[in-house]
């Protein structure tokens, strides 16, 4: 009923606006892809209306999810099936499966999209795969339970964090050697380069902090702490980290604290805590960076945050135990 009312209103608009509407109808809206760890599916939501467009069956235990740099594909790691499902972002079908070795948890791609980096959680490896052929280029031993991967803008450095070894491992992509191992606070989950590539932020879920690392000296230059009135320290578990395009602000999902922290990326001061669903882990921006999507593992939904007002505006149900999110513009 509501959509009909809206159509009626639109019909009354001036001609120019009508033409815009027609254009918008032709171009497909952005889409959000959410991996549901227990359901073995990926939920696809319309990026404007947040309506469910499709539920794509995957192989077993989908977790890490990544949009290819050309936005043609969405890749999802199937931990219990030892492969990656490649979803065609247009047809929303799994078009290919790439073998990864055991227990792929998450992945990242080189800036050109020619290589896929996979963290093999159960055997402490990073597997480097040629995306075109699916052939393995290299396997690099790292710490135990490797998870979050970050690729530098020039593609020469790949960082992987190992949850049980509690390290950030810097890999040189020309030699495939691990060039630095930095001990961070307990159970690191995500690594993210700042927009200007000057620093690397690593979130530590059990340690309850975010370490800011200088990738040139491989030293920790700052550790961000979180204090939420009325929330026990034990519940503060930083995971997802994302920076606004101007690089000034970072959003950090805090797990069992059920909040997303807004952090000044220059002073490292926490400016605000936004209440979201339960156990938010991974986060992602909308294409224009006006919205931030927060995936809540325990409440099986995505909280939508308005970036300018820094407020949660809506929540949208997805599958069971949603894990990660990728956005196709």
């Amino acid at each position: 009923m509501q959509s009909w009312t809206m159509m009626g209103r639109r019909a009354a608009l001036p001609l120019a606006a009508l033409a815009l509407c027609a254009l918008a109808a032709q171009a497909r809206a952005s889409e959000l892809f959410v991996s549901n760890e227990i359901d073995d599916t990926v939920t696809v939501l319309n990026g404007q209306t947040y309506q469910k467009i499709a539920t794509i069956p995957t192989d077993e235990r989908p977790r890490g999810i990544y949009a290819s740099p050309d936005h043609k594909y969405v890749l999802v790691c199937d931990g219990d099936s030892s492969n990656i499902d490649v979803i065609d972002a247009r047809t929303l079908k799994v078009v290919r499966r790439i073998e990864t070795g055991p227990d792929p948890e998450t992945l990242a791609m080189s800036p050109s999209g020619d290589r896929v980096y996979v963290s093999n959680e159960n055997n402490a490896l990073v597997t480097v795969i040629d995306f075109a052929t699916g052939k393995w280029i290299k396997q690099i031993p790292v710490g135990i339970e490797p998870e979050g991967l970050a690729v530098s803008a020039h593609g020469r450095t790949v960082v992987v964090v190992s949850e049980t070894t509690s390290m950030a491992h810097f890999i040189d992509t020309r030699t495939w050697r691990v060039v630095a191992n930095i001990l961070v606070d307990t159970r690191p989950r995500i690594a993210q380069f700042t927009r200007n590539q000057r620093y690397l932020w690593v979130s530590s879920e059990v340690g309850g902090t975010v370490s800011v690392i200088d990738p040139r000296t491989h030293r920790i230059v700052h550790v961000i702490d979180f204090h939420i009135p009325g929330v026990d320290r034990e519940y503060i578990g930083p995971v997802g980290v994302r920076f606004t395009p101007d690089g000034r602000t970072a959003f950090v999902a805090l797990g069992r604290a059920n909040r997303v922290a807004v952090v000044d990326a220059q002073t490292y001061e926490v400016e605000k805590y936004i209440l979201v669903g339960q156990r938010p882990w991974q986060i992602a921006f909308s294409p224009g960076h006006r919205r931030l999507f927060v995936v809540n593992g325990l409440t099986n939904d995505v909280t939508i945050i308005d970036v300018s007002s820094e407020e949660a505006v809506r929540s949208v149900p997805v599958g069971r135990l949603p894990w990660g999110i990728a956005v196709i513009p």
Binding site: G101, P102, D103, E121, N122, N123, A124, L125, W136, K138, Q139, I140, P141, G143, I144, E145, S162, E163, T164, T165, S166, M167, H169, W176, R177, V178, V179, N181, L183, T186, R187, V206, G207, G208, D232, E234, Y235, G237, G255, R256
Partner: protein, 410 residues
């Protein structure tokens, strides 16, 4: 006495081979700088165990119980150590049942204070802790759950990994109160441990506003359990044992040696669930637990030991991980300095519970969420939502600072 040296690192290699990884693809680890080594002693006694007393054929008693947890963790430390120049060895010292533990420990400690993981029962643990040579040692108790070792019998050189009996009854009590199953019928077995556990149940009831509506001691003769007609005897004996006049919500059983507790479910006089040492059980770990990434730990342990990970394995695993943090994170190797660090605000260890675990300074007990499980499922995890504490929510379980009879904190 036998001494075995478990080489760390082998576990990882085996794991990679098992997983079918082409080793040719694996890039070489970076050249190591000066590698420092640290030795951990794993001291255990092989207590005589009569398999006949296990009520279920599905229950097993592997010889590597506990030790495999420590071995797996040592290999994990060496994965980390490889990157930052540390190598750990686990020196296993086994004293046979009836052997002289004190003599073995004295030989060990003759070379100076050491870091010892103790897979020992309460009496032997105290024998070890009270040796003059152990005064400056660090002993990690990975096995006991006895309240007394955290209360009157606490020792400054001993740190307890597993939750105490009181933490267990509190963990169950919070859940029962949350369920509003607040009328409890206590059935207590014949051992002294059962008496302590039953006293803890009464303490938990008073603490959380539950009511003990019946309280009974039961001594079951296990002679007939493996006979062909065993179930018939049980079918008549258990209803008799559980018949009381008033109504109750749950049977809270205190039977630490598994004499009869497992016979209670479905054999009780009234249709009521069983919790306690059997039925719904409180523990630090079960092979079925998979939340908070515990699935990864379970899979890793299974690859190493070819069996499920028990609570004692978890105790052994966590003890080694704690030592790893003190050595690699804090850079400490002297046992006394490590003791100080473990009691400080700077210390924290991850144990697949969704939060960092720390030691209580007043009794050296590890703070931790406690699992409530049946043999196949994790039912819940305490502290329950809504139970509050000014310091740590996990301090709602067991003896809090104002109640302690230990006072190591002073």
């Amino acid at each position: 006495m036998t001494v075995r040296r478990a080489a760390g690192g082998i576990g990882l290699l085996t794991l990679a081979v098992l997983a079918g990884v082409s080793l040719a693809l694996v890039a070489a680890a970076p050249a190591r700088a000066a590698v420092r080594s640290f030795s951990i002693t794993f001291l255990r006694k092989t207590y005589h165990f009569n398999k006949e007393v296990l009520p279920s054929l599905l229950e097993t008693h592997p010889a590597d119980l506990g030790l495999s947890g420590s071995e797996e963790a040592t290999s994990e430390l060496n994965t980390a150590g490889r990157f930052i120049g540390w190598h750990f060895t686990l020196d296993v010292v086994t004293v046979p049942d009836g052997g002289n533990l004190a003599a073995a420990a004295r030989r060990l400690l003759a070379r100076g204070p050491r870091v010892i993981i103790a897979d020992l029962k309460a009496n032997d643990l105290l024998t070890l802790a009270d040796l003059p040579a152990a005064r400056n040692a660090l002993i990690l108790d990975m096995r006991t759950i006895d309240d007394s070792l955290r209360q009157q019998q606490c020792r400054a050189n001993v740190f307890h990994i597993l939750p105490s009996q009181a933490m267990r009854t509190d963990a169950l009590a919070q859940y029962l109160v949350w369920k509003r199953w607040s009328r409890w019928f206590i059935i207590q077995g014949p051992t002294s441990g059962d008496a302590v556990y039953a006293a803890d149940i009464r303490r938990s009831a008073a603490r959380y506003g539950a009511r003990v509506v019946a309280d009974r001691t039961y001594s079951y003769n296990p002679g007939s359990r493996r006979s062909d007609t065993g179930y018939q005897q049980i079918q008549t004996q258990m209803p008799l044992a559980t018949e009381v006049s008033g109504d109750y919500d749950v049977i809270f059983v205190a039977d630490e040696t598994d004499l009869f507790g497992d016979y209670l479910p479905y054999n009780t006089y009234a249709a009521r669930p069983v919790v306690g040492t059997q039925g719904l059980v409180a523990s630090a770990w079960t092979p079925a637990y998979q939340e908070y990434a515990a699935l990864q730990m379970q899979q890793r342990f299974d690859l190493y030991a070819h069996r499920g990970m028990t609570e004692r394995d978890y105790g052994g695993w966590l003890a080694v991980r704690i030592i790893g943090n003190a050595v690699m994170r804090a850079g400490l190797t002297a046992p006394l300095a490590m003791r100080k660090y473990l009691r400080s605000k700077g210390f924290l260890v991850a144990g697949y519970k969704g939060q960092g675990l720390t030691f209580r300074p007043w009794d050296n007990q590890l703070r931790q969420p406690v699992l409530l499980s049946t043999p196949l499922m994790t039912v819940s995890m305490s502290p329950q939502h809504g139970f509050l504490h000014p310091g740590y929510t996990t301090d709602t379980l067991g003896f809090d600072e104002p109640e302690t009879k230990c006072n190591l904190g002073q």
